[in-house]
Every structure is written in C-alpha cells, then in structure tokens.
C-alpha cells in the first residue's frame, strides 16, 4: 500500500487532488456556519453532508483538472531531472533556445509590435486604461525593482517610495501641491519627467547611503520602514503634500511647439504610447547595464560581497547605484500615473503595492528582464480581469490568495521564475544540489 502511494504518479495525483480541493474551496462561494461546504459544491443551498459534496458537477471538473495537473507534473519531473543533471555536471550548460540572442531579440520585437497594435485590437475603455495604469506602469516598476533585487540582490520592500516620490514631484513641479512649485513656475507635466527621474534618483542615493550598509533581512526591514515613512509623511503633512486627499489638479501632458498644440486628455491611448516608448528605453538601458562593468560588479556583490571587495569593488557604491538606477524607472512610472489620472494621494502608495511589484519580479524571474516584463503583464492582466469580470463568489480581496498560491506553486516548480535568468537558474540549481543556498541572493548571507 505504502509503496503504491509512493509511486510518483500516484503521489502526484493525490497531491493534486488535495491542491484542487483547496482551489475549489477558494473559488467557490464563501461558506457559512450552516453551509460550510458551499465552496466545494458551488451552492449555498447544500447542507453540510458527505453527499452534498458530490451534488454538483464541480467536483468532476476539479478531479479532471487534478488528473491533468498530476500528469503534467510527472512529465515535468522526468524532464526536470535532465535539467538538474545539467547543473550537477558543473558545466555552464549549453544555451537553451531561449538563451540565444536572436531568439530573445525576436521575442522582444514580436512583443513590441504586438504592444504597438494592442490599443487598436482591444478598444474596451476599461482595458485601455488598464493597459496604462495597471500594466505598463507596473512593467516599469517591475523593471526598476528587478535592477535592485535581481541584479544587485538587495531585497527592497519599500520600492513604492520611489513611485510615490515620482508622482508627488510631478504634482509639485506642475503646481498642484500646497507647496509652491519651484521658482513659482508651473511646468508642463512633460518637463516633470526629467526632473522627477533626477530627483527620484537623488532620493535613491539618499535612502541608499545609510541603509545599504545593512545586509539581507536588515536591509529588507529598513526599506520597509522607509516605504512606510514616505506614505505616512504624504498622509500627515497636509501643508506640504495635501494630506490624505492629495491633489487632483495635476495638468495633463501637453505639447505646445510653435504651431503644434496637443493636449493629452483623459484618454489612455496617448499615455499608452508614451509609456511604451519609455518601457522600451528602460529595457534597452537596463539590459545594456546588465552586461556592463556595473552589471558584473552587481553579480559579484550578489554572489559574495567579501570576495567582491577583495577584488576592488566598492560594494556600497554599486549598491547605491542599483538603488538609484532602479528608482529611475519607478520615478517615471510615478510621473505617468500622476499625469494620466491627474491626482495623487497617499493611498496609492502603500505596502501592498511594494509587495505586488516584488511578486511580479519573483514570478517573472529575478534578474531576467524578459521574465519580469512577461510576469508583470501576465499577473496584472489576470488580476485586472478578475476585477473586471469576477467569477461567481470572487471578492477583490481574494486576489492575494491567488497571487500567493501562484507564487507558492512557482517556488515549488519553477523557483527561478517564469523566464529565468541564466545565472539565477544556476544559483538555484546549485542550491538544490546542496552547494550553497539559493536564499543567498535574497539575504546576502554567504557561508
């Protein structure tokens, strides 16, 4: 009996059935004391009873799903062992198709062309504004956090601070805050872009210099604190930031050049293209950085800080650089958010946003630009879809259950993320082979 259960397919099947039962509970209507099994049966009407479980067809669907999942799982394991052996032989494995440069470039080009036409394919105003506010902006945020977490290996739980500073700086220079705009000039939101990016980068240096002397968990906690400080400051300093109401008087972007006059309105599509252009710029800049001297210094620090120091790398300098550079794209995301929605308030920049961005990066693949972009698009699309047309019984607060479940599954089956970076996959492969810890990347503790 025991041997039978231990057989891979059987154990996978049992685990899958268990997982599907939980999934079914989660997606079903919330139960109550009289109908605790409502989640399983999909109906409030069923009384709690053993047979009530099988009263509807839902369990059939989920059993079928469980069989499929366990099948995929078994297949994955037989293939996955090949990957593990590849790591164990110690050779930097030959590049998979995905790692080849033409494939990558082609993929990005295809994605870019698709993105260009997307607003014409999807004309629903809800989705058009989601494309800007929830997808493009979060791609920017994830790209920025990827520099900090993925490249330099610094766990930043307060990344939202940079986003907030970008948005508030925009409000400030356009004269929308109680604080007078610099020199009394109300600038066009366009000019807020370089100013916001520059100020956010300076802010990154200012936060980074004291905090980046810490390592691992300590850094995570301190950045968490800084994120909260920014939100609380924005909330409480009524005279400076407009307090909890923030401001809703930020002018839209506009161009006034000789005879060209164009004002970006509330319509999201023009902002979409503006953001897309910047996403492309950031992708190019960050991937050049990854393979530059700076990128190699980040890798060295991530792998072993003492060794990095011993070969002449100044860890503090490069960590602060990672903070500032990562902050730049978050700052720009702040400008777009402020310029498009014309309002900012502290509630948009809370801890869950930081966690959400981190989830995008981990899901997509730490250190992998392609992964982070795809991960952000996927997760944000799904979560916005759930918000837009929720399945029966879904409540918006359930989102984090799913997100959490997705991350847990990801950690089990694909710990390096959806599209792993080559090095990150090696790091995890070695950790599994018992050579070092994969958490080193996050905690910075090297043996």
């Amino acid at each position: 009996m025991k041997a039978f259960v231990k057989r891979p397919f059987v154990s996978h099947l049992l685990t899958s059935i268990g997982a599907m039962a939980i999934f079914e509970l989660m997606t079903g209507p919330p139960g109550s004391s009289t109908t605790p099994t409502a989640g399983f049966t999909g109906s409030f009407g069923e009384r709690a009873s053993f047979f009530g479980l099988f009263a509807t067809y839902r369990f059939v669907v989920f059993l079928a799903l469980a069989v499929i999942v366990s099948g995929v799982w078994t297949l994955w394991q037989s293939r996955g062992s090949v990957i593990k052996h590849g790591v164990n032989t110690g050779l930097a494995r030959p590049r998979a198709a995905w790692q080849l440069k033409p494939v990558r470039t082609g993929f990005f080009l295809a994605l870019f062309i698709f993105a260009l036409f997307l607003p014409h394919l999807e004309t629903d105003p809800y989705w058009q504004s989601v494309m800007v506010e929830e997808i493009a902006v979060y791609v920017l945020l994830a790209l920025g956090l990827n520099v900090v977490v993925g490249f330099a290996g610094l766990l930043d739980l307060g990344f939202v601070a940079f986003y907030a500073v970008g948005a508030y700086v925009t409000a400030w220079v356009t004269g929308a805050l109680p604080t007078p705009a610099p020199f009394g000039i109300h600038l066009n939101a366009f000019f807020a872009i370089p100013i916001a990016i520059a100020l956010v980068m300076i802010f990154g240096v200012l936060i980074g210099l004291p905090t980046l002397r810490l390592r691992g968990d300590y850094l995570a906690i301190v950045t968490l604190g800084f994120g909260e400080i920014v939100t609380i400051f924005a909330n409480n300093q009524y005279g400076i930031t407009g307090g909890s109401e923030g401001t809703n008087a930020i002018p839209h972007f506009s161009i006034h050049l000789w005879f060209i006059h164009y004002v970006w309105g509330l319509a999201p599509v023009p902002y979409y293209y503006l953001t897309l252009a910047f996403v492309v710029v950031f992708i190019i800049v960050f991937s050049l950085l990854e393979h530059s001297r700076v990128g190699r210094a980040w890798t060295a620090i991530r792998e072993d800080e003492v060794a990095a120091e011993s070969i002449g790398i100044n860890p503090l300098k490069y960590k602060v650089m990672a903070f500032a550079i990562g902050a730049a794209s978050a700052g720009f995301a702040g400008v777009v958010t402020a310029g498009q929605t014309i309002f900012v308030n502290p509630q948009s920049f809370t801890l869950p946003v930081s966690i959400n961005i981190l989830a995008l990066v981990i899901f997509g693949g730490m250190g992998s630009i392609a992964g982070v972009v795809v991960g952000a698009v996927l997760i944000q699309t799904v979560s916005m879809y759930l918000l837009h047309s929720p399945p029966a019984g879904y409540q918006s607060s359930d989102l984090y259950i799913y997100l959490g479940a997705a991350l847990v599954l990801m950690m089990i089956f694909r710990p390096a993320g959806l599209i792993p970076s080559r090095r990150r996959r090696r790091e995890i492969g070695m950790a599994e082979a018992g050579e070092g810890h994969m958490d080193e990347v996050l905690t910075g503790d090297t043996p």
Binding site: T89, R293, E303
Partner: protein
Amino acid sequence: MMLQVNDAVVRYGAITALHGITFEINQGEIVTLLGANGAGKSTTLRMLSGLHAPATGKIIFEGQDITNTKAHQFVALGIAHVPEGRRIFPQMTVEENLEMGAFTRSGSFSDDMDRMYETFPILKERRKQLGGNLSGGEQQMLAIGRALMGSPRLLLLDEPSMGLAPMIVETIFRIIGEIRDSGTTVLVVEQNAAQALRLADRGYVMENGRIVFSDKASNLLHDERVRAVYLGESVEGT
C-alpha cells in the same frame, strides 16, 4: 621595505585582538605568520586587507600611509587578498572569476589570463566550469589566480592549505614559491607551520595577539619553542 606595520592595535568592541604588533615585509620575500587558533593571525590579515582598521598604530606600504584605507581600495594600491575559505564566485565560470579579478584594471588583460592558465593548467581545462563545482584545491588555485589578475605587488594569503589534501597543499605551496620568484611579494598566514616554514624566507610567531618572536624561516624550523608548540611530532618524522 615594502610593508611596515607599526604598533598596530585592533579591537573588536571591548576585546583587544591585537596588542600592538610590529612587523615588516621586504620586497621579494615570502613571510609567514604562525600561531595557534585565536592568536590573532586572521585579525592581522583582516587589518592588512582593510576589513578592520586598527585603533592605533600605522600601516605603511611602499612609503605610503594606508592605515585607514578601505578594503576595496587595496587592489589599486597593489595589495591583493586571497580571503580565508577561498570565496570564489560560485556561479561564475572559472574564466569569469579570473576576469573579475581584473575588475579595477583598464585595458586588455588577455596576456595575464594566458599567464594564469600557464601557472594553473587545471584552470584552463576547467575554463567553462562553474567555480562552485571545482574541487577545494582547484578553488584555491582559482582564488589565487583571481587575486593575481589584479597584478598585485604584495599578495596576502589566508590559510591557503585549509581543508585540502596534503598532495594538493604541496602543489599550492610550490605555486606560491613560483609567484614569489616571478616578483610578487607574499605574506602567508598558516596553521600548517611545517610546510609554511619550509617555503617562507622569514616567519613571525604570534601568541595572544602579540608577536612573540621572529626569525629566518630555516631557524624557526629548528627552534625548540616552535617545534614544541607548533610542529609537535610532525617535524620529528621528516
């Protein structure tokens, strides 16, 4: 005189680890620092590589006061440190590890790469393998090679024999000798006193954070006190 340490005191909080040590290293020699666990050898090396600045005292390298220089600035000065436990970059290939060693240098360093592969033929064989998958001895060679890629004039080695099989230790020490012969001055901190003294030109013996005596290595090898405390029976057999 290449490096001079003058009455250096190092404290960890309330604990004094080094009670004012003074020693020197001359151009072109191998100097070894001996002592039992906790004698202050590693602290001395931490101090010399900028990881822990002395509370009082001076470190002078080639006439320049480097007492308060930071760890990452040492390579540019011409001092390379091979840290205890090797600390190669485990997920970089051998080649990438060596390239990282030349991080502070500008211009081409392919000649030096070739030289490293000549000194350590095994590294050439393993060029594309990940550092973390090398054996202990190979990792030690890689760590030394990486340090040499910064073209230092003074090489600091912290316990290069740690955890290695005797045969490999032999090879490593032979290579350290070759490094000295090619013009790089070497300071070795070792527990393996017999081997270190056979290789070195001079030695310092530390006890409880002080240098208790020093002499030519060949004299130390036959010194009663050293034999009794550090060499024990191991020398009797040879």
